[in-house]
């Protein structure tokens, strides 16, 4: 007996592929075939014009269609949310292989983890009935900062198009395990010497401060979600996806991009819909709906975030600089977070 003999026995008891696995594979092949507009493989070329062939074609075609529909239905309900930002049918992608939640989950996590030297740009808009629309922008560079790397973040908030505040934050990503609350898991790291500048346009003041707790994976915040199993808040979409709390609900095209639409599986009034690019699996847009509570009970707040991954050009990096307008008064610094 040697190491190969031992290895051959390892995990030797995996189950055989289920009927569903066979059906799923056949559906994937059919989808690939449809891309190239070819005839079914099961049928011989020499019998193409006979009535019997045509009957078989109908039967096989029906069987394949049932399989595809069954598999498709099991994986996702291709429904369009009436409140989705843009939800027109993706005719170009109709025949493409449509990834299920498991594939989307792993690829989205890989995509989010894989983006390194890019600026993550978020443009958000929040609406509450009867209240002015609030918009915001945020730049984060680099997205997925590595331990020891300096990360810069900047953002602004506006009401009805009028800028209310701007801010910037610079910090060095702590070494793994150096923070007191497991940043990799929670997305938040504390004991960090973050330098923050806040500019208040309404009061024409500005303030510099130290911020000890920072968000390592900014944007995509999902604090209001509670994992029904662990009863812990879910800090960001990466965790939400990793925990299997998003399900695939459709494959719409948004602004010319084929996307996969995911919806939160969490209970309660708060919902999140996320659209990821069907090729890169990077997030394109999200829509977060939650009750406003006091002081506006019974109302629903809807926030739509649009995401872009920008190259770190000089022009783009300039967005990370917050300049204090002349004449603004500095107020005493403080420690935040």
């Amino acid at each position: 007996m040697n190491e190969l003999d031992v290895l051959k026995r390892f995990r030797d008891d995996v189950p055989e592929p289920s009927t569903d696995a066979w059906l799923r594979a056949r559906a994937a092949i059919e989808a690939a075939r449809a891309e190239t507009s070819e005839r079914p493989t099961q049928l011989g070329a020499g019998r193409r014009s006979t009535p019997r062939y045509r009957r078989r074609l109908v039967v096989v075609g029906f069987g394949v269609a049932v399989a595809v529909i069954a598999v498709g239905a099991a994986l996702a309900t291709d429904k369009q949310s009436p409140s989705a930002p843009v939800a027109r049918s993706d005719s170009a992608g109709r025949n493409a292989v449509r990834p299920n939640a498991s594939v989307v989950r792993t690829r989205l996590i890989d995509a989010l983890s894989g983006e390194k030297d890019t600026i993550f740009y978020t443009q958000s808009s929040t609406e509450v009935p009867g209240q002015p629309t609030r918009t915001g922008e945020e730049w984060d560079y680099p997205w997925n900062g590595q331990p020891g790397q300096v990360v810069r973040q900047a953002g602004s908030g506006s009401v009805e198009g009028t800028v209310q505040n701007k801010w910037s934050l610079t910090f060095t990503v702590p070494a793994e395990g150096a923070t007191n609350n497991g940043g990799e898991t929670t997305g938040v790291a504390c004991n960090v010497a973050g330098q923050r500048i806040d500019v208040d346009y309404a009061n024409q003041t500005w303030q510099s401060s130290e911020q000890s707790c920072v968000t390592l994976t900014p944007g995509l915040d999902t604090d209001e979600f509670v994992d029904p199993t662990t009863h812990q808040p879910v800090s960001n979409i990466k965790a939400l996806v990793a925990d299997g709390l998003l399900r695939v609900v459709g494959y719409p095209t948004i602004e010319g991009q084929s996307t996969v639409e995911l919806k939160s599986n969490t209970r309660g009034a708060t919902t999140l819909e996320l659209w990821v690019n069907a090729s890169t699996y990077l997030p394109v847009r999200s829509m977060n709906t939650s009750p406003t509570g006091d002081p506006n009970p019974g109302k629903t707040s809807t926030t739509v975030d649009r995401y872009s991954f920008l190259s770190p050009t000089q022009a783009n990096l300039a967005s990370l600089q917050v300049t204090v307008p002349a004449g603004f008064r500095e107020i005493a610094s403080s420690q935040k977070g």
């Binding site: 031992v6 390892f10 995996v14 189950p15 696995a21 594979a25 493989t41």
Partner: protein, 200 residues
């Protein structure tokens, strides 16, 4: 960096373009490909990856050249390439399995086959987790897919000499790790074993 000792020619257009051949290849190989994937990343992900393997194979079927090897090897090559996107899941699974608490002690007789395999599994998981992706691919294609060096070379598009050296190194590393494991007495010296944590 390993020296490439020969160039793999671009496969000419051949055989799987015939629809019946593809169907036959699917019927004959799906189970084996699925099983290989399930052993590496678990059954749930294997369902997706096996389906994707055959969808990719269908799209690229004109690039399959039977003169370079069996269709089985070609399919395992596609499956292995797809697995590369799931390195983290595979590592995670190995890490979990490596942490499984073993029986209080190894079975006392070699005829006691099943408990023996169960007892050694965490150690093997840890050992596999320490291998590089290239080494693990070659080792598992050899051990689990029963591919020869030439078939692995054809499947991965890598010269056979490179495959031989990768397999040799992978087996040596496995032996080094399991060196703490006495095959004759079925005892494992935990203290001399490296840990997986650095590779996760």
């Amino acid at each position: 960096m390993e020296r490439e000792d020969r160039t793999i020619p671009t496969p000419p257009r051949k055989s799987l373009e015939d629809p019946q051949s593809f169907e036959a290849a699917f019927r004959a190989n799906f189970q084996h490909v699925h099983r290989f994937l399930a052993r590496r990343v678990g059954s749930a992900l294997a369902d997706d990856l096996a389906a994707e393997t055959f969808a990719v194979a269908f799209r690229r079927r004109e690039t399959f050249d039977p003169s370079l090897g069996e269709v089985r090897a070609w399919l395992f090559g596609i499956a292995t390439n797809l697995l590369h996107a799931h390195w983290r899941e595979e590592q995670h699974l190995l890490a979990l399995e490596a942490r499984i608490v073993s029986e209080p002690g190894p079975p006392t007789t070699e005829s006691d086959d099943e408990p023996l395999a169960r007892w050694v599994a965490p150690h093997l998981a840890r050992a596999l987790g320490l291998l590089s992706q290239d080494q693990r691919d070659v080792l598992l294609l050899h051990a689990w897919a029963d591919l020869s060096n030439e078939e692995i070379a054809s499947a991965l598009g890598v010269p056979a000499g490179t495959i031989r050296s990768r397999l040799s190194r992978a087996r040596a590393e496995l032996r080094d790790y399991l060196g703490a494991f006495d095959f004759d007495r079925w005892l494992f010296d935990e203290k001399s074993a490296p840990t997986l944590e650095d590779r996760e």
